[in-house]
Amino acid sequence: MTQIELRGVQKFFGTVQVIKDLNLKIEDNEFIVLLGQSGCGKTTTLRGIAGLETIDEGDILIDGQPVQHLKCSDRDIAMVFQSFSLYPHMTVYENIAFPLRATRMSRTEVDKAVREIAQVLRITDLLGRKPSALSGGDMQRVAIGRALVRRPKAMLMDEPIGALDAKLREDMRGEIKRLHVKQGSTTIYVTHDQIEAMSLADRIVIMHEGVLQQVGSPEDVYKYPSNLFVAQFVGSPVMNVAKASVSEAGGEARVTVDGAAEGFAFPRELLGKLNGKAAVGDLKLGIRPEGVLVRHEAADGFLPVEAHIIEPLGSHDIVDLRIGGEMLRARTKAGYVDKAGDRVFARLDPSHAHFFDASGQSLGVRL
C-alpha cells in the first residue's frame, strides 16, 4: 500500500538544472516507467526518490509523508541497479540475506525468506555460488531477489536489464512483468528503451532535458503523443514528421506535404480543428508508418509515390517513399514493394495522423 508523490522537485548539478519542476503522483501497486534519453534526468529522479541524491527543492512524499530529508535507510525502498551491485565477496544466499541481516532479523526468518524468494525467482540451485560465477541474467535475478526479499514499500529499478543482451533482455522483461503481477508492489522503472517501457508499464512518464513531457498509459502515449518529442521517441520505426499545409478542395480537406504536387484527402472536420494553423511553417504532420497505406494500382485518394529504400524485417517491410521534398516511411507486407525505384500509390489514414504546431506541441486533432 504505497503511494509516491513528487511535488515541484528541482535538482541542480552546479549550474545545470537536471530536474525542472517535476510533479508526479504514483498510485499504489502501479508499475511506472520513467522513459527518456540518457541525461534527461530520469535516473537522477529515481535516485532522488531512493535518497541517494538530495533534491534542491520540492517534496517527495511516500504515503503522504515527506521523506526528502530522510536517509535512504529510513525510506524503506528497495532498488535494483544497472550494474547489479551484488556484493562480490558473498554468495548468492548471503547477498539476498544481506538486507534482512542488516536489520538483525532472526536466523530462521532470514532463511525462510531467502529460500522463498529464491524459489519465486527460480535461483534456488544458485544460492551457494558467488556472483562472479553467474551469468548476467542470473545476476540480475539475484539483484531483484535482494530487493524483493524484504518486502519494501516500493521497488526502484534503474535500467535493470540494460546490460544484458537482446535475447536475455526479452526473457527478463517477461519475468519482471510476471513478478510484478505476482508480488505486486509499487514500482518505478527507469529505461531509455521505449519497447521495454511499452511492454512493462501501467503508465509511462516521458522526460526530456529534465522536463516531464507526458504521463499516460502506453496506449495513450503511443496514440496521442502530446508533442513531437514524445511522438518520435515512442514507437519503432520512428513516426514520420513532415512539414505540411492544409487547404480545402472539393468539400474535403487536403493535406499537402511540403513540395508535393498533390495533397492527401482528409475529412472536412480537420479544417475546423487546426485553429487556423494551416500554412507550411506553422504546421507539422506526424504519421506512424502503419498509417501510410500502400498499394500497387492507382485508386481513389491514393497518390503516386516512388519507393526509395526498402528495409525487409521478416514479418514486414519498412519502405521509404519519396513525396515532394520529404520521405515517408510506410509499413507494408513483407516483399510487397519489389525494389527501390518502383512506383506505387500511397494514402494516409486520417485516424493515424497527428498535427503539431511550429513549437512541436500537439494540436490535439483526433479524426
Binding site: C72, S73, H89
Partner: protein, 301 residues
C-alpha cells in the same frame, strides 16, 4: 617467448650498426644485476649455511671444525634465545597491530572528498621516507626525559621512556608505528578507493548501518590488500634491528636480530650465529607462508 614480444630494433640505430640484437641489449642490462645478486646475496646465503654446521670463529685463524647440528641443538635449547624470540614476538604484535589500526584509520579518513587531499597524503607519507638511523636519533631526542618534547607536551614530567625496562620496547614500537603507519595507510587507501561506490549505495538502500557496512562490505573487500601490507610489515618488524639498536640498549629490547648481531660481531661466534640466522629465516618463511595461504583464501572470489 620473451623475444617474441620485444619490438624490433630500428635498423638505423647505433646498436644495430654495432651488430647488436635485442637479446644482446637485454643481456647487457640483466646479467650485471644477476651477477650482483649471486655474489652478494646467494653465495653468502649458501656459504653461511655451511658455516652454521661448524664452530668457525671469524676472529681467529683456527680452522673450522664440522660439528653437525650441535649449533642448532644448543640454540634451540637456550632459554635466553627463546626470551629474545618472545621479545621479538611481542614487538611484532604491538607494532603491526598499531600500524594497521593507525594506518587503516588514516586511510578511512582520507578516503573522501576533502580539500588538499593530495598534499595531506604526501605529508603523511614523509616518515616512511626517512632513514631508520635518522628516525632513531630523532626519537631519542623526542623521548628524552629532561628536555624531550613528548614529556613536555603530554605533561609527563620526567617519565623514562627508553631507560625504563618495562616501557622501552613499547617506545621502540611506537616509533615504528609512527614511521610505518603511512605504508599501511597508502596500501589501504588504494584498497579503499577500489571498492566500487555503488556497493555502498546498495548497502545504504539495504538499510545497513555504518558499522555493519564497514564490517561486511568495506573490510572484506580491502582485506586482500591489507593482508599484503600486514605481510610486509610483519616481515620487516621481525627483522627490526637499527631502530631498536639506536634507541635503547635495554635487555628487554634485545630483539632476535640484535642478539644475532652481538653473537656474530661482538662475541665472534660466527658458526653459531649463522645457525641462528637460519632459524630466524625459517621462522619468517613459515609466518609469511601462513599469511600467503590466508591471502589466497581471501582473494578466492
Amino acid at each position: 617467448m620473451a623475444t617474441a614480444v620485444m619490438t624490433r630494433l630500428d635498423p638505423q640505430s647505433r646498436a644495430a650498426a654495432r651488430g647488436w640484437s635485442d637479446l644482446t641489449i637485454r643481456n647487457l642490462f640483466v646479467i650485471p644485476t644477476i651477477l650482483f645478486l649471486i655474489v652478494f646475496n646467494i653465495f653468502p646465503l649458501i656459504y653461511s649455511l655451511g658455516y652454521s654446521f661448524t664452530d668457525f670463529r671469524a676472529s681467529t685463524n683456527a680452522p673450522a671444525n664440522f660439528v653437525g647440528l650441535q649449533n642448532y641443538r644448543e640454540l634451540l635449547n637456550d632459554p635466553f634465545i627463546w626470551s629474545n624470540f618472545a621479545i621479538t614476538a611481542k614487538y611484532v604484535i604491538v607494532s603491526v597491530v598499531g600500524q594497521v589500526i593507525v594506518g587503516f584509520g588514516m586511510a578511512m579518513l582520507l578516503n573522501r572528498d576533502i580539500p588538499l587531499k593530495g598534499l595531506l597524503t604526501t605529508l603523511l607519507l614523509l616518515p616512511m621516507m626517512l632513514s631508520m638511523a635518522v628516525v632513531g636519533l630523532f626519537w631519542k631526542l623526542l623521548y628524552d626525559p629532561s628536555f624531550g618534547i613528548i614529556n613536555y607536551a603530554l605533561g609527563l614530567g620526567t617519565f623514562e621512556w627508553l631507560s625504563n625496562p618495562n616501557m622501552a620496547l613499547y617506545a621502540v614500537a611506537l616509533t615504528d608505528i609512527w614511521m610505518w603507519s603511512p605504508f599501511v595507510m597508502l596500501l589501504s587507501l588504494a584498497g579503499l578507493s577500489a571498492v566500487p561506490k555503488h556497493l555502498y549505495e546498495a548497502a545504504a538502500i539495504d538499510r545497513a548501518g555504518p558499522l555493519y557496512t564497514f564490517f561486511r562490505i568495506t573490510l572484506p573487500l580491502v582485506a586482500p590488500i591489507l593482508m599484503i601490507a600486514i605481510i610486509f610489515r610483519t616481515m620487516e618488524a621481525f627483522k627490526t634491528f637499527d631502530l631498536a639498536y639506536i634507541l635503547t640498549s635495554q635487555p628487554t629490547t634485545e630483539l632476535i636480530s640484535i642478539r644475532l648481531y652481538k653473537m656474530a660481531f661482538q662475541e665472534w661466534q660466527t658458526g653459531r650465529s649463522c645457525a641462528l640466522a637460519y632459524i630466524v629465516l625459517i621462522m619468517i618463511l613459515a609466518i609469511t607462508n601462513i599469511y600467503v595461504k590466508y591471502l589466497n583464501k581471501v582473494k578466492e572470489r
